[in-house]
Amino acid sequence: MSALSLLLAQADPSRVGVGHIQGGWEFVTASYVLTLLGIVLYATSLWVRRRKE
């Protein structure tokens, strides 16, 4: 199954043919926030461990 046919199956019926996924900003936001959170948390954990040594 190709990626395209799956995409079409998932898309809103009225948009079939346009092939666009509209919106989805919440997923983008979630990704970037998660990345930021990861960096902050990991940096903090490294800083704490460096302090302990």
């Binding site: 998932q10 990704s31 990991y42």
Partner: protein, 261 residues
């Protein structure tokens, strides 16, 4: 935006790495330079990815996840490859530097891998309708995380530093099978994961934003790995006191720990 600019961004980290090979002392300044470069480049990378790059034809704005997802997965693979290199180096010549760097690169690689795989799952929801598509690349990347969790667990569970170093070097060397599996899993199992597109077929703005993000995360990887290396090194220094510390006047009960054999 010309691509030479994106390539030029790599000159600083690459140059620093080469310089450090010749002059070890540079590393203390070097990591700070990397930290600053990461701190400057990451917000810009977010701007480039979220605003500056145009929406994609098929996936609209959702595709912007790749500017966070792809570079972090690359960094995970880079960390694991670095771990392989250090493991091999340790097997050739016993060195605590190689051992500590192997530990650091495994953990940092694991960190980027966890974030990268999670973002991959988030990416799956709007594009394929489910978080987990059982896409071979996603799944094999997740399996890779399990392996390196096991690697770090083994290190935690082994008290003797010499044994721990040898075993983890062996695990790290054998572990090269796994990133190779991640890479080829798509070929072995017909998959819906995007086959890597070459820069030529994609909008140059997208290529530039991705390269910028990759460079930013590379600087972050170097910073994190070096800091983690310092932690590992300090722990080793505590465990592996040189025998000179034992020389001198008659033994007292606290200068040599009692040993059960």
């Amino acid at each position: 935006m010309p691509n030479w600019l994106a390539n030029a961004l790599l000159i600083l980290p690459a140059g620093l790495l080469i310089a450090i090979c010749f002059k070890r002392d540079l590393i203390e300044i070097g990591w700070k330079v990397m930290a600053v470069q990461a701190a400057i480049m990451l917000p810009v990378a977010a701007y480039l990815g979220l605003v500056w790059a145009p929406p994609e034809r098929e996936m609209g704005d959702v595709y912007r996840i790749i500017y966070a997802h792809v570079p972090q997965v690359w960094m995970a693979l880079l960390g694991v490859t670095l771990n392989f290199g250090c493991s091999l180096a340790y097997l050739m010549k016993k060195s605590w530097t190689a051992d500590a760097l192997a530990e650091a690169s495994a953990e940092v690689g694991l960190y980027f891998g966890i974030v990268g795989v999670t973002l991959g799952a988030i990416w799956g929801k709007p594009t394929w309708g489910v978080y987990w598509t059982w896409d071979p690349r996603l799944t094999s990347a997740a399996v890779m995380l399990i392996y390196y969790t096991g690697y770090l667990a083994m290190r935690r569970f082994t008290e003797n530093p010499d044994t721990r170093a040898t075993w983890s070097a062996a695990l790290g060397t054998f572990g090269i099978v796994i990133p190779v599996t991640v890479y080829f899993s798509v070929v072995w199992m017909k998959s819906l994961h995007q086959v890597q597109s070459t820069p030529k077929t994609v909008d140059p703005q997208m290529v530039f934003a991705l390269r910028w993000a990759a460079c930013a995360f590379l600087c972050l990887l170097i910073t994190f790995t070096y800091q983690r290396y310092k932690v590992a090194r300090a722990a080793l220094a505590r465990e592996v006191a040189p025998p000179e510390a034992l020389s001198g006047p008659p033994p007292s009960s606290n200068d040599v720990a009692k040993v059960a054999v």
